[in-house]
């Protein structure tokens, strides 16, 4: 390896006294002293969430208010810290959405384990699980930190997509289930 010796310029007298540097530093700090603060007053002011932010994972419904999740358990399978636990269940026959698909009976995400990696969202074939903008999760007990299905839907809200999968399924069924 070639070693290139760099001639270091000898310090001038002014530099060796260290005083110009001190004055320069003082000028910089004084400038910051009068500059506006950069602190965000957090509970009153909220940070702007950038696009693609990975917040708390939530479950979403489609525009008609139906569950999108079909409890395929792919997210449970892919989840690296094993934070997701799904109990699959059938959709009862008297339900509006009753058909061949399933829905989760219970869907728990343990937020003490979740690492916000977003793999569940990535893997979900139904676009049912989304990491949304909420960034602070807190609770007084461990149990509180486990989001159950009701809470997940409450956090998730509705995804305004245009798939209308259940409608299509229903129409298909009414027309002889030909797909």
């Amino acid at each position: 390896m070639a070693v290139i010796p760099v001639e270091r310029k000898p310090l001038t007298f002014a530099e060796r006294t260290y005083i110009p540097q001190i004055i320069g530093g003082l000028r910089t700090t004084l400038k910051h002293f009068f500059a506006p603060n950069v602190t965000l007053q957090y509970p009153e002011q909220r940070p702007e969430i950038p696009k693609g932010y990975r917040g708390v994972p939530t479950l979403v419904k489609d525009p008609n208010g139906r569950e999108k999740c079909v409890s395929c358990q792919l997210c449970e399978f892919v989840c690296p810290p094993k934070a997701i636990r799904i109990t699959p269940g059938e959709i009862p026959d008297d339900s509006d959405n009753a058909h061949v698909e399933k829905s989760p009976q219970a869907f728990d995400i343990d937020m003490l384990r979740c690492i916000y990696c977003g793999l569940c969202q990535e893997v979900c074939p139904e676009e049912a699980i989304w990491l949304q903008n909420q960034f602070s999760m807190s609770g007084f007990t461990r149990a509180e930190m486990v989001n159950n299905k009701a809470r997940l839907y409450e956090l998730g809200g509705t995804l305004p997509d245009e798939h209308f999968k259940w409608d299509k399924k229903k129409t298909a069924e009414e027309h002889g289930n030909a797909h």
Binding site: L26, T29, H32, F33, N37, V38, T39, Q41
Partner: protein, 404 residues
């Protein structure tokens, strides 16, 4: 009006006066800790402590009530005044553990020793001046607890005892970090005391030139800097401040002051990145807060002495001494020459300057990184000491030549 006060025995009056000065100095030193936090915050682009407000129970206190006044209350909250009060309460009432491995007697003694020199040095520092009529003559008198001939020497002597608190704390803590802090403090103090003492000598040489007063009084040091411009001559400086005609002295004094008060960039005894917290590693609660109050008291006294020697004391601006200012004011306000008014104006100007100095201390602290220990020693012994000796010789020769 105040005759009953002057009828009191002298010792009672002195105790009252000293108590009053300490009662002012102590909260100012405490407020300095909040100022430090706010200034550090502003320099770093933060708002600093601005949330605390008096609880419901605190409404019984004047400060708590002040917090509910519109505009003023939120302003005080923004300035962290309630945080200061809360800190004070916390330091007073929180548990004060004494670690098992310490030398208990000296461990408790150290913070007490820290406070003694910090609060006693103020006795010889003049705070302002007023016109007094003595034997029919109007004389400018200093406002000072003890107007002694050796004022400066007394400040130096007593404040140099402050280092024992650090040494003792370091030693009694029986821990390596604290111990290293104590050792550093003693070495640093001895190194910089020399340069500091030598740096002020030119000022007093000038004052005590042949035919001069023969005094080390701080009041006379200010008197030398008060006056109006009549052209350059040796007899008086005509209102020029010390810093203009001996800038090197002022600079050395200031640097040595930083070292003596253990402030950054010379906070070797503390150096939190190397020694945890240095000499007060093992301390907590009230004892710890005493160390901090002592440090701020030292800063206040040190900057007061620096102002008296080099920055014109209670004179408003160079060439505009307090007497001239009062003269101008007396055209507008008939009571301007009243001792009470004049004293308050003088003290106001002086305290304002002290605050400016304390701001400078903090500004430097949040600007400069800490020196390495060998750099501190190098600077003290090989740079500042020869410089101050050369400075002294220069002024000695200069004064001798100008006397001819």
């Amino acid at each position: 009006m105040f005759q009953f006060y002057f009828d009191l025995p002298l010792i009672v009056r002195l105790v009252v006066q000293a108590g009053a000065v300490i009662l002012v100095l102590f909260p100012i030193a405490a407020a300095c800790s909040m100022a430090e936090r706010k200034i550090s915050a502003w320099i770093q682009g933060r708002p600093g402590p601005n949330r605390t407000i008096a609880p419901v129970g605190g409404l019984l206190t004047p400060l708590g009530l002040a917090g509910r006044i519109p505009f003023l209350g939120p302003f005080l909250q923004q300035m962290g005044i309630f945080q200061l009060a809360a800190d004070g309460g916390k330091f007073t009432f929180k548990e004060d553990p004494v670690p098992g491995h310490v030398n208990k007697f000296y461990f408790v003694l150290a913070p007490i020793i820290a406070m003694i020199p910090a609060l006693t040095t103020i006795a010889v520092v003049p705070l302002g001046a007023y016109y007094a009529v003595i034997n029919g003559q109007t004389i400018l008198q200093p406002i000072v607890l003890a107007n002694v001939d050796i004022g400066l020497l007394a400040v130096f002597a007593v404040s140099s005892l402050g280092v024992y608190a650090v040494i003792l704390a370091g030693w009694a803590s029986n821990s390596k970090y604290a111990f290293l802090g104590g050792v550093r403090a003693s070495a640093q103090l001895v190194s910089y005391e020399l340069a500091m003492t030598l740096s002020v000598l030119p000022a007093f040489l000038w004052m005590n030139k042949p035919g001069g007063q023969g005094t080390l009084s701080l009041f006379d040091a200010v008197q030398m800097q008060s006056g109006v411009w009549h052209g350059l001559s040796m007899a008086s400086l005509h209102g020029m401040w010390g810093v203009f005609y001996m800038p090197v002295s002022a600079f050395i004094f200031l640097v040595a002051l930083f070292a003596e008060t253990n402030r950054a960039p010379f906070d070797m005894p503390e150096s939190e990145s190397e020694l945890v917290a240095g000499f007060h590693t093992e301390y907590g609660a009230f004892k710890w807060s005493l160390f901090f109050l002592a440090e701020y008291c030292h800063m206040i006294i040190g900057s007061a002495v620096c102002i008296l020697l080099f920055f014109g004391g209670w004179n408003l601006l160079p060439w505009i001494p307090l007497t001239t200012l009062i003269d101008w004011l007396s055209h507008v306000l008939p009571f301007a020459t009243h001792p009470l008014f004049m004293g308050l104006v003088g003290i106001g100007i002086f305290v304002g300057k002290v605050f400016a100095f304390i701001f400078f201390f903090m500004w430097v602290r949040w600007t400069l990184p800490r020196f390495r220990y060998d750099q501190v020693m190098h600077l003290g012994w090989k740079k500042l000491l020869p410089l101050s000796i050369a400075n002294l010789i220069f002024y000695t020769l200069g004064i001798a030549l100008m006397q001819k």
